[in-house]
Symmetry: C2
Subunit: 501 residues, 2 copies
Amino acid sequence: MDYSEKNKLKARDLGINTYRENIIFMRADCPVSISEGLKALTRVVVHKNGKSIVATLYIVNSNIISNGEAGLSSEAMTRLGIKDSEHIFISHLHPIASLSKMRAKIFGKELDETAYSEIMKDIASGRYSNIEIAAFVSACAGNNLAVSEMISLTKAMIATGTRIVWNKDIILDKHSVGGLPGNRTTPIVVSILAAAGQTIPKTSSRAITSPAGTADTMETMTNVTLSIEQIKEVVEKEGGCFSWGGAVKLSPADDILIAVEKALEVDSEGQMIASVLSKKVAAGSTHVIIDIPVGPTAKVRSQEEALKLQYYFKAVSETIGIKTDVIMTDGSQPVGRGIGPSLEAIDILQVLRNDENAPPDLKERAIELAAALLKLSGQYENGTEAGLARSILENGLAYKKFIAICQAQGGFREPVTAIYHYDVLSEKDGTVADIDNRKLARIAKLAGAPKVPAAGVYFNAPLGKQVKAGDMLFRIYAESNGELEYAKAYVQSIGEFIKLT
Amino acid sequence: MDYSEKNKLKARDLGINTYRENIIFMRADCPVSISEGLKALTRVVVHKNGKSIVATLYIVNSNIISNGEAGLSSEAMTRLGIKDSEHIFISHLHPIASLSKMRAKIFGKELDETAYSEIMKDIASGRYSNIEIAAFVSACAGNNLAVSEMISLTKAMIATGTRIVWNKDIILDKHSVGGLPGNRTTPIVVSILAAAGQTIPKTSSRAITSPAGTADTMETMTNVTLSIEQIKEVVEKEGGCFSWGGAVKLSPADDILIAVEKALEVDSEGQMIASVLSKKVAAGSTHVIIDIPVGPTAKVRSQEEALKLQYYFKAVSETIGIKTDVIMTDGSQPVGRGIGPSLEAIDILQVLRNDENAPPDLKERAIELAAALLKLSGQYENGTEAGLARSILENGLAYKKFIAICQAQGGFREPVTAIYHYDVLSEKDGTVADIDNRKLARIAKLAGAPKVPAAGVYFNAPLGKQVKAGDMLFRIYAESNGELEYAKAYVQSIGEFIKLT
């Protein structure tokens, strides 16, 4: 790297939030861009004190920055660890070798372990642009990854991240492939297992394409941004935790892929399996239950698809040394009533508190998964697991454990719903016969979830329910009028999607 | 659309060149973003006087814009057709229906004509983000498009653009699939054909992944940014033209796809065929010759691949009513000596001027293609076409026509080479036996081509040439020291790629 005066500029914090992309703004008449021949959208390397980041260049023809200065986005300032007015050095980005492997994947080639390892390393270090990541995500979607590639991808993701080591033989974990609104069993399952004396250091993701991820939901009740040291402390004290995986960079390459998958609303099979299992290995898990909800409008639509996923999960788990069981659950309708972080948190608390209004489906599903984990651990008499899980939940031990974990993570707070709301009413009498989960999820997202935690949908029309004209089918919650109107306009445009007979 | 006060902001031209993406900058405390619940990277609609564009939102936490203002990138200002301080209105972007079709393609589904038509319409109107376009490009690459899909895509691209109507039965055209440095036959072929009295309204593209496209090369000698009216005027007067296709929006959806393909350095088969043929239809062409250079380091690497492309070109041409012939040419080494816009222009002029130093391979290839077009037109006695093409070139009629067309387009100027240069010398004696075209092209690009027209590579070591240690193998031209150093560093890193025996 050339640290000479001619590549030197003064950094200006422009206070621009670009979400994830590093952007650098340079004047058209800037001597550095002229001598280096830099054009708009070029990717350049920005250096400071031995650190460097890759940033996308925008050329400025105005006075928002002065001569001799370069503007940086907030993300770029943070990643480079610098303050306004410090000096930075600019250089060309040398061709990224792994991009040719990425292109080979686009053209349908099967890649080997080395290729995935190089691609993940470059992505984790921020060398790929969002456009390049989008192309890679797209190339890996569908049926484009062989099982051997999923294994390579999983190993490559593991290698870019951290790994937690525990002094125990059995570390439990669970994961739901998602796609079913309100299916927020994790906090309940963790509470039951930890109360049973098991170790379950749960790290969860934020939503990718859904209105809420477990991390989003738990964040409405406690702090989920834990360091590895904090996770170890909480788990050693309480047996379990609710932490956001992204905070500890368990799989940093995957976190970057997920941000682009989110923008694309694409969640691909092979990447999903690599993503889930790499994080389990990183968390130190040894025994894992995978929950696959199956239903016509869930993420997994048929039994065949679920069996294929089961095969992939088992095949990849085996080579990386994790014992995995897959449970297929009913995915024909939302679980519980809340859809959106806070609304789902309210459901969870009702179940844990044995409230008489608690949604029974969420409770039964949590017990089923907790029992499966107890069974997988191999430490209980066969057939007693469900009874044990139920008694721990019903006698309040699970709730006590839940609160204890939240306290250990920094305190517990009650979740709240959003200010604005709008009720969607039934136009006729009848029995609920069919629900489109995807449309419900879309409404919750348009209302602001998960970015606005208190936004979402309160669902009041489960399958088989008798409703009368004028009854509330669901309520939309939003924190701004604009979002409420936006969600309402969408509801009006799609017609009937909760069908009565 | 809600044109009320609460969605109104004053536009500020921030003079930021973002290349192709519309960006809007709004303050974090802006009442519009608060009431509408807008977050960083949200895609929003910006309205003014019945026009609207979709823009990506960056949130600003500084004073580069004042309260009540929104900053716009230069691209966004131009597309919206507004000036600094005018009022704009912001609204949510409603879900783009065709994105679900795009996602289906990512997951390997075959799409129908309606789907392609919707996707192309949304892309042409700027509703897709670069990330979404990258995912679509990637999903269509490799062998992922069936012939029926190529036909649908071609028709959809045609439908988004303009179409030129001629009062003639035979309108000729040619296209090279590219990938061979210096293969710039088009200006010579057009000059020969127009001098022969044929009509050949040539529209060319800029480089996608190569160091120069025909439009880039012609732009070093004349104006290529012609309107449809200007194209008609020039062609009616001179029989041919050299115009940049992007200027006339013959296929605006394709122009947007190409910008992303360029950033990804991915040029996919099905999209290439749709791109080429949609532009031929738009230009009003009836008879087209496709040049496919075949060689181990050309874009098309084998005879089988070339035959597959030939099949696709013929199958799609037939359904859209164009008569097409495919010619496979030698793709084992660069054509001529120049690689880069100006350097290729210099080669072209030498051939047209019958200069004794003119590269003979470029001349012979141009004659071969011109003869094929004369033959395809069906107006000449079989076997006389090559002789006719050669005599038009050698007696100076083609050069006269070339200059006349340039004059009609706004004047002719001599191309110049760049200020900085560096000679790469042979380290030993021997005969040139093997050349890596891709590495030569990469060097020309690192030196600045095609963005810097005078930059590139002067190639001096064709196959079979006897060289001595110290002889110049090629010369790198650059307009800045930074770029020259960048290209040199690459040459040093890749080792021997012009092999001697």
